[in-house]
């Protein structure tokens, strides 16, 4: 009898013990969740406009400065003797889209670095003396990767055209310059705001470098060529095509730029001369499912690993794509839309042996005395293409400079590689956006540029010279 009771107690204790362990496990899970959530979402939570704490921090700390890579002040807050604060941008229009603005919402680095700019890690002694004087604490300063000289060159080279330029470092992902036109003077954002918002036609507030979705035109042949090489690794070098200035399949017809006939071309000269007819022919030979997979791997229809406000590129390739669709897609026309930033990222992956480094623009955060609060370092996003594929594409892009549409970059002190594009955006007129994307030096890429000039004409004539001026400026100082 007693034994049975003992037995009963033992079983009951097992049940109690298991419930105890269950609750302890659930609590440990919840504690981990809370810690993890609060650490990973800290910035997002503070930046939410419904969070009143932001206003509290702004009232307590003077918004920090934004610096260029060489220590130039790109944005600062000036307080007059009455305590009125004004945000000043010494370079005016030059960094309009890149550094952005901080009233009427936020854009650019002002938005990216907001969390740091409104916090103050000033030393305690400084805070104490500020308390005594009754002035606000200095917010932390954000140092960017931006090169003011390159930004000026790129901005100047763009002239009166609309479009975008991105200059970056393939091996690190650092953004050195980012221009989007038309632009505005952020010093006058208060007065300009109403007009800018109403103006839907020119889209001045749009950062075309990351948000503009353009037809990629012939620059997309990088992707078509990549897919053809992937599907025919042993035979693509034997490819031959006879170009008569156009290619017809059924009722669909693709013309070469300005109807030019390229004659007999192989794989690499089709690419170098940007022969539409030949690439339409290649497009018809591709496996639609595999092509769709490749494009997805290269971040089409996907979220870009980019913290700056951006749009995602879209392309339509699937089993239902008709021959006509495939021909259009292969030469970067049709419904495809791509941001210059995305093209720059693909270019960087090719230059960096296939691995994409995450693009970044904030290099570090320092407090008012120059102590580094947070240092951002290059981080690889992932391998987009194999090293072998990167090497082959680089070779093709070298060909474009040596004997193709980007010959204006040939014979310089550095060896460049790239791809031009002339994207038709109007089915009635023959107007085209001028594209160029490329890097230099080809054997050890240090810099890449991606350029789009809206409605200028051919990439070779209008975009390549701008690339040259940027490359020149970059290598001059090194």
């Amino acid at each position: 009898m007693k034994k049975r009771k003992k037995q009963k107690k033992k079983q009951m204790n097992m049940a109690i013990l298991s419930v105890t362990y269950l609750f302890v496990a659930v609590f440990l899970g919840m504690m981990f969740y809370i810690c993890h959530y609060s650490v990973t979402h800290q910035q997002e939570l503070i930046n939410n406009s419904y969070n009143g704490r932001q206003q509290m921090l702004i009232a307590k700390n003077v918004r920090g400065k934004i610096y260029g890579g060489g220590g130039e002040i790109l944005a600062q807050t000036i307080t007059d003797e009455n305590g009125n604060e004004e945000r000043s941008y010494p370079y005016g229009n030059l960094f309009a889209h890149t550094v952005g603005y901080s009233t009427h919402g936020r854009a650019g680095v002002e938005a990216l670095g907001n969390y740091y700019l409104i916090h103050s890690n000033a030393p305690l002694s400084e805070k104490v003396s500020n308390d005594v004087e009754g002035i606000k604490y200095p917010g932390d300063d954000v140092y960017t990767t931006l090169d003011v000289n390159l930004q000026e060159v790129a901005n100047h080279a763009m002239g009166i055209y609309r479009g975008a330029i991105i200059v970056s470092e393939p091996s690190t992902g650092k953004i050195l310059a980012m221009v989007s036109k038309p632009d505005y003077d952020p010093n006058q954002i208060e007065e300009l705001w109403d007009g800018l918002v109403k103006d839907t036609e020119s889209g001045i507030l749009l950062n075309r470098a990351t948000q503009g979705l353009y037809p990629p035109g012939s620059t997309f042949k990088i992707l078509t060529a990549l897919e053809y090489m992937k599907e025919n690794p042993d035979t693509y070098r034997n490819y031959q095509f006879q170009c008569g200035g156009s290619f017809t399949s059924g009722t669909d017809r693709i013309n070469c730029y300005h109807g030019q006939s390229h004659g007999s071309v192989n794989f690499s000269s089709s690419f170098a001369k940007s022969c539409n007819a030949s690439f339409a022919n290649i497009g018809l030979q591709l496996d639609k499912a595999k092509f769709a997979d490749t494009l997805e791997e290269l971040l089409f229809n996907e979220e870009l690993p980019l913290e700056i406000i951006h749009n995602n590129s879209h392309v339509e390739v699937n089993q239902d794509s008709t021959d006509g669709d495939m021909m259009q897609v292969s030469i970067g026309q049709g419904t495809t839309g791509m941001t210059p930033m995305h093209l720059n990222m693909i270019t960087n992956a090719i230059a960096n042996e296939g691995t994409l480094m995450k693009p970044y623009i904030v290099d570090r955060v320092e407090n008012s005395t120059g102590t580094v609060i947070k240092q951002f370092s290059p981080s690889s996003y992932k391998r987009l293409i194999s090293q072998q594929e990167a090497e082959s594409l680089k070779e093709l892009m070298r060909g474009v400079v040596e004997e193709g549409t980007a010959r204006k970059l040939k014979g310089l002190s550095y060896t460049a590689a790239g791809k031009t594009g002339s994207a038709e955006y109007n089915s009635i007129k023959e107007d085209s956006h001028a594209w160029f994307t490329g890097f230099a030096p080809a054997d050890n890429p240090q810099i890449s540029v991606t350029i789009i000039i809206e409605g200028a004409g051919s990439g070779g004539d209008f975009a390549v010279p701008i690339a040259r001026r940027i490359f020149d400026a970059y290598f001059e100082t090194r």
Partner: protein
């Protein structure tokens, strides 16, 4: 100067709290209460230090010295509780009293920061409640007929809940309270205790299917009344407590499965039938898309939790008052914001420490009625902590229950203090049981000395039972 003190004290407070949390688990290294004395003294000192540092910061931040008087009153009450409890009932467990005082002091600090008026009101309620709680261990220990009042508990529980349903006033969409003479009661809080007593008295002797079935019907009535009153949090607590108590009483995991299945079914039906359940679930799944309306509370709570960092903004440096009902349902978020995530985690650890001690006491009790009570109250406590912290941090959907001992609310704190005191009463019963056991053992030894042929048979029998006792203790 002030800034130095407030900044440094942030780290000091977090460190002291971490040490306290450590001590509240270090206790479990020793089996006997006598060997834990040093730990308890250190706990008392740490508690004093945390409480003092927090109020020092409050005084500096507000520049108002009158907070100091309020602090002194609090300190006297808390210290007296810790000391007196031990003096009046030397056989009780001191960890439970210490943790209780620690959690109360955190509650005082954060309520003082949120609303001085409410903090004072809460302080008065706590002082009275402690006085009430002081006598409870005595009654639990002495009143042996408690286990025979099964039907009384059932009627009292259902009656109290039913009256609120019929006569109660709506507070924020739920019918959960009524007022007598200007004092507002929230009976569902007290009924939690009565309910545990009901289940324990119904199942402590026999656990046949019929017993389980009748209790299930009674428990179901409780839950349904609460659901109709829209007090979902309490309904969930009653349900979980019932299922787990049945599992422990019957030792049959099948009841656990049945409970889980029934609970899931009921949850699905509740989701389909009640629009307020849908609203809550929606606000949990994606509060950001309804940040203006249903998701407002939870997103404001997340802002608070996310803004403090490891060491917090410091008292009076954050804006926890932007969360609606922060002092009741979202007190955890206020603690996390101003005292830091680290402090908040340590606070959770202290709650877990209480729960583990409750379970330990439950497992050591021999009488299954008392052991079910200890278990049931422990689960009631920890599950409520889980609901409120999990709800405020978007770990689970929000149910709107208070954080015991810390949140503002008279019924809640009184109920929790009674619960803790009942456990202390059970502790005394446990000690008594153990004494009885050792007496039996000593008698056994005596028998061995007086060895004689007539005793042979009896010795054999006793020896066997002694063996069992020993093996049982090893398992413990």
């Amino acid at each position: 100067m002030e800034l130095y003190i407030t900044e440094i004290s942030k780290y000091v407070i977090a460190l002291l709290m971490a040490l306290y949390a450590y001590e509240s688990f270090a206790v479990f290294r020793f089996r006997e209460e006598e060997r834990r004395g040093g730990i308890y003294t250190r706990q008392n000192l740490l508690m004093l230090a945390v409480h003092f540092s927090c109020f020092m910061v409050i005084c500096f931040e507000t520049g108002d010295i009158s907070y100091l008087f309020f602090y002194i009153f609090q300190q006297i009450v808390l210290f007296a509780t810790a000391v007196l409890f031990h003096m009046i009932y030397p056989e009780t467990n001191r960890l439970i009293v210490n943790n209780m005082c620690m959690l109360l002091s955190i509650g005082f600090v954060i309520l003082t920061r949120l609303s001085y008026e409410k903090a004072v009101k809460q302080f008065v309620i706590v002082a009275v409640s402690i006085a009430v709680a002081m006598v409870i261990p005595f009654f639990i220990h002495k009143l042996k007929f408690l286990k025979k009042l099964k039907w009384f508990y059932a009627l009292a529980g259902i009656g109290a809940l039913g009256i609120v349903l019929i006569l109660g006033a709506y507070t924020y969409g739920s019918k959960i309270s009524y007022s007598i003479g200007g004092i507002t009661f929230q009976p569902s809080e007290f009924v939690k205790i009565i309910f545990v007593f009901f289940v324990a008295s119904a199942l402590h002797e026999s656990t046949g299917f019929l017993d389980v079935f009748t209790t299930a019907v009674i428990a179901g009535v409780h839950v349904i009344i609460l659901v109709v009153s829209k007090d979902l949090g309490s309904a969930l607590i009653f349900f979980v407590v019932y299922v787990l108590m049945v599992f422990v009483a019957t030792k049959n995991p099948l009841y656990l499965l049945a409970g889980a299945a029934g609970g899931s079914g009921a949850a699905v039906i509740a989701y389909r039938v009640f629009s307020h359940v849908q609203v809550r679930v929606q606000a949990w799944k994606d509060p950001w898309s309804e940040i203006d309306s249903a998701g407002y509370q939870i997103t404001q709570s997340l802002f608070a939790i996310g803004s403090g960092g490891w060491f917090g903004m410091g008292l009076f440096e954050g804006t926890p008052e932007s969360i609606p009902f922060v002092e009741a349902d979202f007190i955890f978020s206020a603690v996390a914001e101003e005292l830091g995530i680290l402090f908040a985690m340590c606070m959770i650890l202290v709650c877990i420490s209480c729960f583990v001690m409750f379970m330990d006491i439950s497992m050591r009790l021999h009488d299954s009625f008392y052991r079910l009570i200890a278990f049931g109250l422990g689960v009631t406590y920890i599950f409520q902590v889980f609901l409120t912290i999990g709800g405020g941090s978007k770990f689970i959907p929000l149910t709107g229950v208070t954080l015991p001992l810390i949140s503002y609310g008279g019924s809640s704190v009184l109920t929790t203090l009674i619960m803790f005191s009942i456990i202390e009463g059970l502790c005394m019963i446990k000690e008594e049981e153990q004494e009885e056991l050792t007496i039996t053992k000593k008698r056994g030894k005596k028998a061995v000395i007086e060895d004689g042929p007539a005793m042979k048979k009896a010795r054999k029998k006793r020896g066997k039972s002694r063996e069992n006792e020993e093996s049982d203790e090893v398992i413990e």
